[in-house]
């Protein structure tokens, strides 16, 4: 495993010692990728925000148990995984009781109100949103080993090295999994579309490019 980098050890140690400002700052620095971990692991009927709040509570509650500052990221990820597992158990119970609020066949990936302006803009945005939602759906359907690094990578702040720290994997493994995740996404989309490349481009026109020769 590679050496861990980019962990603010003094901040972690101050937070572990009970400094409230350090605790708040440490949480703010890391909460976004924790949300991505939750997104990768959560049961479909539970909101990311709700689980993240649970993680926040446990983060404060258990911070004093962190032994080594360099192990902070995997430690925090484990808390997120435990919260997701707990939610999954509750979710299964709810499902058995027939009270699950998600009655769809996929994950609730959320929708955002479509801002309206002129017709062409609306159409373009709708197409982009459709494409983004479809990609998200496919990404969430990937095997966990690929889904998790891919979602982490989607956060601009996460480098290969940082992802490897969180997942406790060598950087080369992270890179390989990301490449495979992208390949799987392409293949899934190609199967869905029939012709993967016959897509509307982001500039509003058709790409009209020849099919891939991969």
């Amino acid at each position: 495993m590679g050496q861990r980098h980019s962990v603010d050890e003094p901040l972690i140690e101050r937070a572990r010692d009970g400094h409230s400002v350090a605790q708040q700052e440490l949480w703010r620095v890391h909460r976004r990728w924790v949300a991505a971990i939750i997104l990768a692991h959560r049961p479909r009927s539970v909101e990311v925000e709700d689980l993240l709040q649970d993680v926040a509570v446990k983060f404060i509650d258990k911070l004093h148990t962190l032994r080594e500052a360099p192990a902070f990221r995997p430690w925090l990820r484990q808390i997120a995984l435990n919260v997701c597992r707990g939610a999954a158990r509750s979710s299964r119970t709810t499902l058995r009781l027939g009270q699950c609020r998600d009655d769809g066949d996929g994950r609730d990936i959320g929708t955002v109100a479509e801002p309206a302006s002129d017709e062409a803009d609306v159409q373009l945005r709708a197409e982009q949103r459709d494409a983004a939602n479809r990609l998200m759906q496919q990404a969430l359907g990937l095997p966990l080993a690929y889904r998790e690094p891919l979602l982490l990578r989607c956060l601009r702040s996460m480098s290969y090295q940082q992802i490897s720290d969180v997942l406790e994997l060598p950087v080369t493994t992270v890179e390989t999994r990301l490449a495979r995740a992208r390949r799987m996404l392409r293949e899934e989309l190609r199967q869905l579309d029939g012709s993967f490349d016959d897509r509307t481009d982001l500039n509003g026109g058709r790409t009209d490019v020849p099919s891939t020769t991969e």
């Binding site: 949480w27 949300a35 997104l39 109100a113 982009q128 989607c154 290969y160 890179e175 020769t213």
Partner: protein, 192 residues
């Protein structure tokens, strides 16, 4: 680098992890296989769209803060806006209405009312949910987009207005309370 070399290079470029050598090697490969440029563009588009979607799905993280352990004095940090007023109002009501002669009991009740669990975390959604449940809130209208700004492929910043309809009964003459379609009085003051 093996048979997946081009795929690895594309991945590094898309992820902004490519070195100068990686970029030069990619250009070298693309000289003999121009389709690589198209694959790079498509991967960039896909990752841009997916990244935008993931950021949306994790945006709530920016609003979830922690309240440090044992920090009852810090609870005020976890409350803001009118939600804080709600807590204070509940506290006041308990103090005023208890009728209990013992200050100790009153204090105890006040503590329970004013202070949720020590590590309670409140997000804007919690505040908004409470607000929307208020008796003077009629409902929410469609949001209005003011302006959009492209940030990067697949990501935009959107300025918008949330419109929440409220209702209020007033005793003052309408001319004093309304100017055209603009309400000129403070509803909170009137309700108070």
């Amino acid at each position: 680098m093996g048979p997946d070399e081009s795929e690895t290079l594309i991945g590094r470029i898309v992820d902004n992890e490519a070195t100068g050598d990686d970029r030069r090697r990619f250009e070298q490969l693309a000289d003999s296989d121009t389709d690589l440029w198209r694959r790079l563009a498509l991967d960039q588009i896909d990752m841009g769209l997916l990244a935008g979607r993931v950021r949306e799905a994790t945006a709530a993280a920016e609003w979830v803060d922690v309240t440090p352990a044992g920090g009852r004095r810090n609870l005020a940090l976890a409350f803001s806006g009118w939600a804080a007023v709600l807590v204070l109002a509940a506290s006041w009501a308990l103090v005023a209405g208890t009728g209990d002669p013992t200050q100790r009991l009153t204090t105890s009740r006040l503590d329970r009312a004013a202070a949720p669990e020590p590590q309670q975390v409140l997000g804007p959604r919690d505040h908004l949910r409470e607000y929307l449940a208020s008796e003077f809130v009629v409902g929410e209208l469609d949001m209005i987009v003011l302006e959009t700004e492209p940030l990067e492929p697949g990501r935009h910043r959107v300025w918008y207005i949330r419109r929440i309809e409220e209702v209020i009964d007033i005793d003052t003459p309408l001319e004093a309370a309304i100017d055209g379609v603009k309400l000129t009085i403070d509803p909170a003051e009137v309700r108070h």
